[in-house]
Amino acid sequence: MTDEVQPYRVDPISEPEAATEIKALLAACDLSYEATVEVFVVLRRGRRTIACAGLDKNIVKCAAISPELQGESLSLLLMTEIAHLAHERGHTHLFLYTKPDNVDRFRACGFYKVVEVPGVVAFMENTPIGVRGYCASLKTLRQPGAVIGAIVMNANPFTYGHRHLVEYAVANCDHLHLFVVAEDTSFFSYRDRYAMVKAGISDLPRLTLHPGSEYMVSRATFSSYFFKEKNAAADSFTAIDLLVFRNFIAPALGITRRFVGTEPFCKTTNKYNRDMMHWLRRPDSPFPPIEVVEIPRIANGEVPISASEVRSLLAAERFAEIGRLVPPFTLAVLRDKHRPGRTASQIPDPPTWVENALSKKGQDSYEDS
């Protein structure tokens, strides 16, 4: 009567009954169902769902095995199916979050630990040369100096506020590494944001502009999903991102100081800045502490300049006011991309060197001096 275990793929939207079974299994495993999962793999024995794992793009979520069947190496079959399904969907580099107790089980499934918040959560990827390979390429861009600075910015869009932060940082370190968040979930595309930063800082010395990566304020490292399940851990949803920075990126480039602007408007960013003080500096780490320098935003009159303010002005097409908050190139991008009914003659072309820089591929960074 041995019912064989068979894998199936489940679209949770079009198969509500299967989704209900997944929810029940997750509940039995003390995990919550994630609505962001696009597709599941389930293992069934007979008609019973005994294991499941889901994909939210390149992040594996909701991985669970029926409690009484754990130890039957179902995880190997489950994760094999997930790997092939993800590959078919164009995702070769996978990430997952799990409890530290499960690290060995996922290790057997080809996942490697990147960082861990002890007792709370471990962050893993499905390659032994992921973050280490990235850092090996960063190492080739090391610069001499006693104080090496870093800024990670989204620049959505790039304003005079960002410019002020970069100017301050350059004046207060021997070399500055500037990273543009690569995740394409913002109002402005990565391509546009990178171009705006590149144009906005092109005259500044001792600065390396880096493309962003999946290891920095990305969906993978900044995934708050895990933590909203448990209030006790809600405080550490930024920890993974900051630990990757401290344990891998900063040592690769020799970064000793990270610069941020104060954040009076956005709660998430404000919390990120607060948590930075904790995770980058705490002494009980084998990695050197990183000084965090938070500088006040510059104001245009009474109101501090913020990208969100620019976006609301843009919605109202108040370009004259925007022009006081952003550099000319940013303004040109905003007009070009977002002004309806425009005519070509009104918009200056972006400088061609920006286009050329952006068409380069790979992990090169662009030296500006």
Partner: protein
């Protein structure tokens, strides 16, 4: 033959291996993880290199997650992953055995 896209073959189950391949500008980079790496790591890598050489692949990144596979299984999985990742299949099956 040239590796022009990423591909995946095999499983994580015992006595098998999962192998990923990706394009690379020049040279072979083989990253091997195995439960029996201390006893058979060198042998597994030699089989992998020999198989790729017979297929005429001289530039690729190959990541192997081995679960104690026999040599014949390693060859089969590598041939499959190359077939999935190559621009065109020009190898002669008879020389691969």
């Amino acid at each position: 033959m040239k590796i022009v896209r990423e591909a995946l073959a095999g499983t994580l189950e015992s006595s098998d291996l999962m192998v990923r391949i990706a394009p690379r500008d020049a040279g072979l980079e083989i990253v091997l993880q195995s439960e029996v790496i201390h006893q058979f790591g060198a042998q597994i890598e030699a089989v992998a290199r020999e198989t790729l050489e017979k297929l005429g692949i001289d530039a690729a990144q190959v990541i192997i997650e081995d679960k104690g596979a026999l040599d014949c299984v390693i060859r089969a999985r590598l041939q499959t992953v190359v077939r999935r990742a190559a621009d065109e299949w020009t190898a002669d099956w008879s020389v691969l055995a």
